[in-house]
Symmetry: D2
Subunit: 383 residues, 4 copies
Amino acid sequence: MKKRLRYGLVGAGLTSFIGSVHRISASFDGLTDLAAGCFSRDSTKNRECGDFLRLDPDRVYDSFEEMAQKESLREDGIDFVTIAAPNDVHYAAAKAFLMHGIHILCEKPLCYTVEEAEELKALAAEHHCLFCVNYSYSGNAMVKEARELVRQGALGEIIDVKAEYLQEYLADDIGQTSKTMNAMSAWRKDPSVAGVSNCVGDIGSHIENTVACITGLRIKRLAAKLDYFGQPLDLNANILIELENGAHGVFSSSQVCIGHRNGFVVRIFGTEGSLEWHEENPGQLIVAKKGQPLQIYDKGMTYISPVAAGMVRIPAGHPEGYYEAFANMYKTWVNAVLKYENGEELTAQDLDFPDIDEGIRGIRFIHACVKSSREDAAWVDVI
Amino acid sequence: MKKRLRYGLVGAGLTSFIGSVHRISASFDGLTDLAAGCFSRDSTKNRECGDFLRLDPDRVYDSFEEMAQKESLREDGIDFVTIAAPNDVHYAAAKAFLMHGIHILCEKPLCYTVEEAEELKALAAEHHCLFCVNYSYSGNAMVKEARELVRQGALGEIIDVKAEYLQEYLADDIGQTSKTMNAMSAWRKDPSVAGVSNCVGDIGSHIENTVACITGLRIKRLAAKLDYFGQPLDLNANILIELENGAHGVFSSSQVCIGHRNGFVVRIFGTEGSLEWHEENPGQLIVAKKGQPLQIYDKGMTYISPVAAGMVRIPAGHPEGYYEAFANMYKTWVNAVLKYENGEELTAQDLDFPDIDEGIRGIRFIHACVKSSREDAAWVDVI
Amino acid sequence: MKKRLRYGLVGAGLTSFIGSVHRISASFDGLTDLAAGCFSRDSTKNRECGDFLRLDPDRVYDSFEEMAQKESLREDGIDFVTIAAPNDVHYAAAKAFLMHGIHILCEKPLCYTVEEAEELKALAAEHHCLFCVNYSYSGNAMVKEARELVRQGALGEIIDVKAEYLQEYLADDIGQTSKTMNAMSAWRKDPSVAGVSNCVGDIGSHIENTVACITGLRIKRLAAKLDYFGQPLDLNANILIELENGAHGVFSSSQVCIGHRNGFVVRIFGTEGSLEWHEENPGQLIVAKKGQPLQIYDKGMTYISPVAAGMVRIPAGHPEGYYEAFANMYKTWVNAVLKYENGEELTAQDLDFPDIDEGIRGIRFIHACVKSSREDAAWVDVI
Amino acid sequence: MKKRLRYGLVGAGLTSFIGSVHRISASFDGLTDLAAGCFSRDSTKNRECGDFLRLDPDRVYDSFEEMAQKESLREDGIDFVTIAAPNDVHYAAAKAFLMHGIHILCEKPLCYTVEEAEELKALAAEHHCLFCVNYSYSGNAMVKEARELVRQGALGEIIDVKAEYLQEYLADDIGQTSKTMNAMSAWRKDPSVAGVSNCVGDIGSHIENTVACITGLRIKRLAAKLDYFGQPLDLNANILIELENGAHGVFSSSQVCIGHRNGFVVRIFGTEGSLEWHEENPGQLIVAKKGQPLQIYDKGMTYISPVAAGMVRIPAGHPEGYYEAFANMYKTWVNAVLKYENGEELTAQDLDFPDIDEGIRGIRFIHACVKSSREDAAWVDVI
């Protein structure tokens, strides 16, 4: 029986922040070995990265097409590939690996259009591939705990959702021209690489996914106002939403809200209680039950549900952070692939990672926001 | 020269929460004496209240019309009246006192319709009366400080506003019929007394006023979704706004958000910084300037602006609360009336209380929210 | 039956911060009328204060002895006196009023020595006077709630106590000579007026009282290190304590801890749970029960005990502060005096204010701290 | 030139929490390879662990003596060893590896006695070995930032230190006999394995080290009261301290303070400002400068000093936790060893990890606490 997996990387070169996050997280539990990569379009950088990571030079590839083909022919070929390159690569790379029957963990957003996304889903089914879209925040223990509380009915029926993801790192872009704009996250601001949206695509999409994960409810329609501040893609967004059960709420995402470093906050309100989770303090969950004192749930305590407890590696009070949420995503994913490759039956719990349907839903959400805003915040159906 | 003022009360009987708040706050600084009242439509309760408050029985009136007339004829008649009865009384009572030239401090919302509000404004001008609408939260020292920071340009240009006023005290009303509904705040839930809105009218209106106070910007248009949960008036609201300078943002008000006792939070984002104020911790202001550490401003410290410092009675760290904000409102109001009655010129700072124009603006806001929601969150102009 | 009380003031002139706090707080619930005063040793200031407060000029006295004597002879004489002058006045003034059978509410610390304190106790008993020492923080609703939780056994047996009262307002005194020192709180720094201690006497004494109030346990012995930083009286203190049940803990008080405005925090640890109260956020109590999520108790909620609920005037979430705690102290005190004067039996709950025994205990604590520190933090018995 | 290091593990088997922390942290930056180990006294477990970690079976040793000897003879022998076994192993294992010239990273506390500690220091010097003691919290970016602020004089002269490390996980041990006590952390509670102290040794020692790291000041003397609650070793401690510059303060450590998961908090007060760091929210530092608003420093921001910035791997607001602090310790350590082995000069910054002198100081501190408590909190010299 397989006990570990070999994986490859597309993108995630030495200067990529998210690249190192993937490598560290994938290795947290000793269940993976990095075996191949196509790290950069620049051949020199690609080689340097392979060397630093001690890869066999034969398995550092100039193109992801070559990598997909050659790895699929090796006895010791990779079991899955992580696609962590900019958005413009996702669709083509995913397609290439799926055609060779290689499982995929892909960064979000999944691709540019809903049509592409549906095509990837069909290919995955045809080639018997598992597919994970890296909405990493759902890997947090307390997001799982929040979902458990909702499932158990602790909140009653959901009546409102307020969520926001506020950053400040592009505040200086306001009023800049393409000549004076800073280079930070340049590709995210370029429609030809990022797609139809910058801010909603990059972080608004996390709101959509995490809220859906916790509530189990999809967005029925939305009315969005995106702010561009003179740039080609959005930097700020305020969105009225209606969930499939009729509840309303607001989402806000921003890269220009000074004072917010990475302020991702989700609040879910129900007829019997509410909960609140802050990604900047990810090990706690604030729970309110009607008529009772507020409660602060801490990860690592015995009252936490088994599903959430399984996402915690160290004792209560010892902070776990961003890497650990990624590592949890990998742990679930790798175990699923291991079981699948070993011919075992996969349960719902085994498949508790964001799958390609979530990836498709994410693309729908981004397009709906952009469309609504173009129509002056008219309602746009998402389902 | 007058050194103290006599005032009367309409409403504010012994069982009225807001009544005791008005009486305590009005007396905080030793500048007022309660001299007359019409506390209740119930004659016995009216008399009991007058006795408890040691009023001359001749100055406890059965109707506000009688009170307005008789007080205006006395040598020692009241200088101003506080109208703190339910909403349905505001317009008629204000009109009665204005006709007799008595200054008015009136609870919000000012009245039912914009037309009534405009009429009151005209009457006040005609009869040379000062008029204050009791948006009490702008009496908080740190709201003044926030306004100063915006005026000084510490935030640059305003680009987004996020504000919410979340309560939970009507959570049990969801799904109730008129027979099973609890009696708490019954008049607020009755359209014939409260007017077109419950939640937006009662607390959404505070968001509108405080945001305008801090930013100096009016709302140009809004798109609102109010939730009624089977009741005649709204219990929950989510509102997209557009300010007159083009900035967008979201307001939320609710009486059914479990876990929020009186969660009034205002956040203002600009191109150079942001600020955040929580009414539940009113003596602090969180200020972010671009590229700098977050700063926690405390009331009572020497770095606070003179205007805000003038609203602080006790040393830094000693908590001041809801009464004190009311008392600040009264202090400013009473000083303005004193100066006016003494024939002194009134400066802008003397008039730094919410005036009838703010009262009118508040009515516009409430109607716009209701109208937009009826039209499925279509944009409605407010200016 | 008496329904209101007349009271007099010793000290508490127009420039006295604590004076206005007493006057506002005493009038919060409409149960008292200020009827007499001796506000200042300076006759002009004394008269001015009487005028501002609209007192009958005959009842503005040049000395507290005269006031005690003349008020005791009037039909409409004061029912009680509030002594809010600097420490050097407490003993003599209290004695004068007790000799004339007038009830006393006295600022803390009660007097200079344990002997004086015992003498006042004997006089109060002899002259049938009620006596309240103004440890105002025990007037906070959530301090009462904390006491209830301990009484109910929610914390099990107390095993540790950590409490601190940290201010910063004398930070500039460090290293100053008497010539360069700032005038702020000058009398507190003068041994001839303040007594043996500044910092421990002024704010350390609140720690002692509030901890005893909540736990019901007295300090058996203590080992203290006071820091003088070149001044005649202490500015900073760290104290090891041992409670009568054998539990240990630490107290810290300071007027030089920069960053702390009025940081009074009490934490009580037991075998089954703990609680934590911050005076800067007085309406909340953090409660931990073994193996459960932390709970945030909010004043004004239905789960609060009746005793604490009786100290709350406004709904949950609306902040109450420093004045309101004082007003609670007055409410309990005035009701006790009213009942006593009406010949009613006084229950333990009626007498739920800090009495002269607590005043005596406070003096013992201050002396023990000073003595221990002089002996290089040797243990000193307090009981 | 060496670019990576091989290391070995003593202890840190598969069921050891701290073992996995070491392995993950050591590999964070791709600078180490685990090459050898002696994981357990139980041969089967030792082998299983080696297999899981894919070690060459020849390099999984039955004893640390064998490991030290054989590794020192190999061409590809380990560059350093991490000793992460219980306390009773530290001294003997460290000695064995030093005798063979192998650099050492050892868990704290370093050993049982000051004499042992001094001997290890002498051996390290004799055999030219670098030696790191794993006070991991000083690996936090914001601890480094705090140290920088003190060094720059932002706090002026240090006048008080208050620090605590409060846990609750042994609360159930109170009143238990050895038969009924739970097995959690059993070795820590056994004097024959843990040494003279449980609570002070395990977590009080972190207080001592982190305070010294930040302030640059050693403790001159201390007066401690340890609570045993019927157990052989301490569960709770309150300690008065005097620093070498004459400042006083209090330390508290506990394993029975319910409500505190891992509450390690350090507060440093100076004549010009103060700072506060909470390990449970390690990416922030609260800084107060005299007369200014409180400031919240966030890791990852541009205003952070270069030394602290070098300890941050991901953008501001993305939480880093316990593993990352360990990884920072390893990063500094590994770079120092690499430079040393490459014959480069080591600067003070290269050696910015807790060295054997800090290990010795830690042992002195633990013994002083136990001795003082035995003498009823008499002062005991530490320097």
